[in-house]
């Protein structure tokens, strides 16, 4: 059962091949047996999952149900879950049990999906390797000596290891697409404003966006059908009709104009990765698409601009974790200053502290214009690059990240080397565009991701192109060794 896609499981439930309770038990037992090796879950909600599986089976027996009714999924531990600890990968929230559901969580509950638990992640979504989680790093199912990527490494590893058919994730600078690429699965970061951020713990509010991690483009479409919604509780959510993302999956892609930005094939790109991406592009050409060399001239500025804007927003977003109302509080504070200092010193990890310091610095008097304001100007230029590009192409394609999965600790002493792992993904967050990663090959047996960047709200087209690619390739069906096929 665990090798079936979400679409297959949905059909299997509908056909009565198995019940939701059976499915749920199967995945729960896989998590119990296999996850100690991957550490992809922070919290497993077995009892609640079985309760909702029983309810889903009853609902299905009564008649018409949502396609995802009874299908097991998992939520990244950044989404608040009513009554279930939501840690955001941090000691700061290790004891935090929200009294409300994130809109994304509520949407899945309304569909009748069964939540198996909460997945591991970099602390407050700050990281590209999952090494910053207070709950320990997630291991890449392709090689447990390597990182799964981050920050949604838990969701990506759990899907890759077939511990869950699909999972929710978030992407601020690449946190869906990069782990998708490193774990050989499909991940979609929607247009900013497509998925509600209510109840999604903020890292950088103007960049954060929820999206699915799944086995295939078709599964990602099924997930996005549930995740996307207009939510009046999120002022940045866009009031726009949610299409059925599965409707156009099989449309022809003949005549599709694909832009290849020269800046995404720079000397920093692993040659094996480049080869796999070029092969995929040739495949699209064979399917009737046309390739066009384009330029995104301000690409090189995206990492520096991002590492001003994201920390600046984070420095304010994380101020609420002060030990006063919820979350971690240092033992026996002697006064207010001591309460603040020790709570935050003890509750946050190094990477989070680094970004708070960087952000506060960039916003401080005398530096604001030179850093934050300048970064916002750069952000507009980067967006303008894409607006120009989309006048002549339908999609932009390139590698998701410069290298396949790397070893634990290999970039530990060098934050900038780590930040450069997101060099191809960050620009889409700055521009608010949708981005998607699909498996397109391997290097030394490790998965490689192809990134598609679409125009605003063009998720349906990206899913269509991804699905057609997956009809003629089998990279997305490759499984890591040890994941009994």
């Amino acid at each position: 059962m665990h090798n079936q896609t979400l679409a297959q499981l949905s059909a299997g439930l509908a056909a009565g091949d198995y019940s939701s309770v059976e499915l749920t038990r199967h995945f729960l037992s896989r998590i119990e047996q296999l996850d100690p090796a991957y550490n992809s879950f922070i919290t497993v909600t077995a009892e609640a999952a079985l309760t909702s599986a029983i309810a889903a089976d009853e609902q299905r027996a009564r008649g018409e149900v949502h396609p995802l009714c009874g299908v097991p999924i998992a939520h990244k531990d950044i989404f608040c879950t009513d009554g279930v600890r939501t840690s955001c990968g941090s000691k700061m929230l290790d004891n935090f049990v929200p009294p409300y559901d994130a809109t994304v969580v509520a949407n899945f509950a309304a569909a009748g999906a069964v939540v198996l638990g909460k997945t591991n992640m970099d602390e407050f979504a700050m990281g590209s390797s999952n090494e910053t989680s207070w709950y320990g790093p997630v291991k890449n199912p392709w090689n447990t000596g390597l990182v799964p990527g981050g920050s949604s490494g838990g969701s990506a590893a759990a899907v890759a290891a077939r511990l869950v058919p699909a999972a929710t994730a978030t992407d601020t600078g690449g946190s869906i697409r990069q782990p998708a690429a490193l774990c050989g699965i499909t991940g979609l970061k929607p247009t900013y404003g497509r998925v509600s951020r209510w109840g999604m713990i903020a890292f950088a509010s103007s960049l954060d966006q929820g999206g699915p991690l799944a086995r295939s483009a078709e599964d990602a479409a099924l997930m996005l059908n549930v995740m996307a919604s207009f939510d009046p509780k999120d002022s940045t959510c866009v009031d726009r009709e949610v299409p059925d993302y599965t409707a156009g999956l099989n449309d022809s892609i003949a005549g599709l104009r694909i832009g290849i930005p020269k800046e995404y094939f720079d000397p920093g790109l692993n040659s094996g990765t480049e080869g796999a991406v070029r092969d995929a592009l040739a495949q699209f050409e064979a399917m009737g698409a046309t390739l066009h060399d384009i330029s995104l001239p301000h690409s090189a500025l995206s990492v520096p601009a991002y590492y001003v804007i994201a920390p600046a927003e984070a420095s304010a977003n994380l101020s609420r974790f002060d030990g006063v109302r919820y979350g971690y509080r240092c033992a026996d504070p002697v006064d207010l200053r001591d309460l603040y200092m020790r709570t935050r010193a003890e509750g946050f990890g190094d990477e989070v502290k680094r970004r708070i310091l960087v952000g506060a610095y960039c916003l401080s008097a005398g530096y604001y214009d030179a850093y934050y304001k300048k970064a916002q100007q750069v952000r507009r230029l980067i967006k303008q690059d894409f607006v120009e590009a989309f006048k002549s192409v339908d999609l932009v394609m390139g590698p998701t990240c410069p290298n396949p999965a790397f070893a634990f600790g290999s970039k530990g002493d060098n934050p900038v080397a780590m930040y450069l792992e997101d060099i191809y993904t960050i620009a889409t967050n700055l521009a608010g565009l949708p981005g998607m990663s699909v498996p397109c090959g391997t290097v030394d047996g490790l998965p490689v991701g192809l990134q598609m960047i679409g125009n605003y709200f063009d998720e349906a087209r990206m899913l269509n192109v991804g699905h057609r690619f997956q009809q003629v390739t089998d990279w997305h069906n490759r499984t890591p060794e040890g994941i009994n096929p």
């Binding site: 608040c80 950088a204 009046p232 304010a316 006063v324 919820y326």
Partner: protein, 491 residues
Amino acid sequence: MTAANDWEVVIGLEVHVQLATRSKIFSGASTAFGAAPNSQACAIDLAMPGTLPVANEQAFRFAVMFGLAIDAEIAETSVFERKNYFYPDLPKGYQTTQLEKPIVGPGHVDIQLPDGGHKRVRIHHAHLEEDAGKSLHEGDWQVNGRPMTGIDLNRAGTPLIEIVSEPDMRSADEAVAFARKLHSIVTSLGICDGDMSQGSMRFDVNISVHRPDTPFGTRTETKNLNSFKFMEDAIALEVERQIDILEDGGRIIQETRLYNGETRRARSMRTKEEANDYRYFPCPDLLPVVIDSQTIEAIRDSLPELPDAREQRFVEQYGLSEYDAGILGDEADMARFFEEVAKLCGDPKLAANWIMGELAARLNSTDTAIGQSPVNAGQLAGLIARIMDHSISNNMAKQVFDAMWKGEGEPDDIIEKRGLKQVSDAGALEKIVDEVIAKNPAMVQDYLGTDESKRKKKLGGFMGQIMKASKGQANPQQVNEILVRKLNDLL
């Protein structure tokens, strides 16, 4: 106006006005005052992780109303920013406010000065922001033997407009007149309940002194004054302090000061060097708010009557003097009270006299707002009606008013119960007059022997006895007529 020894005082105000919206500026929680601590703070107000703000449309409407009332430009696009600092009653660790693009641009307010003159005070801008919660240091909470501070977040997220004036005021009187005028504008607009005792309006006063025709001096800011009286006292105190320092050859340090209304003392809270770096930046959770000109015009069309226009109308419609119109038309509650009394009794001038006389004296001496007056408009109008139909004299009316103030009920009941009714029964009065004339032959002779032009002065003696005989209830006018007629009959 200049202070002692030719020092000129320069004052600018920052005024926080709590908007009378039913829910908070970024959440659906109630803004009602006085609930149990933290019972009106929802997940957003508590800054729970993952919660997001949604701006309250009514708060924008109110801010626009204020802007239009002070003839200011309304920003088509206004932007919320985060002002970052740590304090336990600031749950998010930042206050959401406006800095670069406030909703209300430059405007002005005209004030009337105590000497009867007028002055225009320029408004630099007014912006929307959220209030913080309250830290309660008074409780006797202890943990491990250490005193603790309570946090009540009911007020957190209450919408405010902060009105920032230019430094256009030159005395405490002008500052108070300006503050009162703002109070009357926001209450007339109905955008603030104006209840200063509950913190609905709070004043930060920037004060400096300098010699005329020299640059402004270094200013200090005295924060969080919540009454006109405190403001007046705090300004006087600070002006005196600054002049003393300067005359002793010292210099003023730019600082924030706190005034304690109970001890009537002020102390330094922090100096400029200790000031926070608030690291403002646009709030990414809230999109810039765009208000189109159609909406602004619709709000303009629905604006209630403003104090200046109302005072003008009182002069024209009721024939009041400009001074009386200023007192009665300034505050919405007072104006409403006056118009109701005038309408019910039919004599605006009598209504004005009673409100500004007897009623105002009682309200002032007991520090009672007109809205809380124990004598309502209907009762006062009923009393005036009895004066107008000569049922009671002015003196009796004051007794009746006193009884009404004490809560003894309707004027007619009080008149009845106390037997205050004026005797106008001609038969009864003639009888009393006859008796008094009969008892006082000497006075009658004196009257008759007096030259006609001076006889009037001789009536007083008779009147006194007649009023005494009637226990004060005789209608004096009527008695006068009868008396003159009867005496003249004797000629």
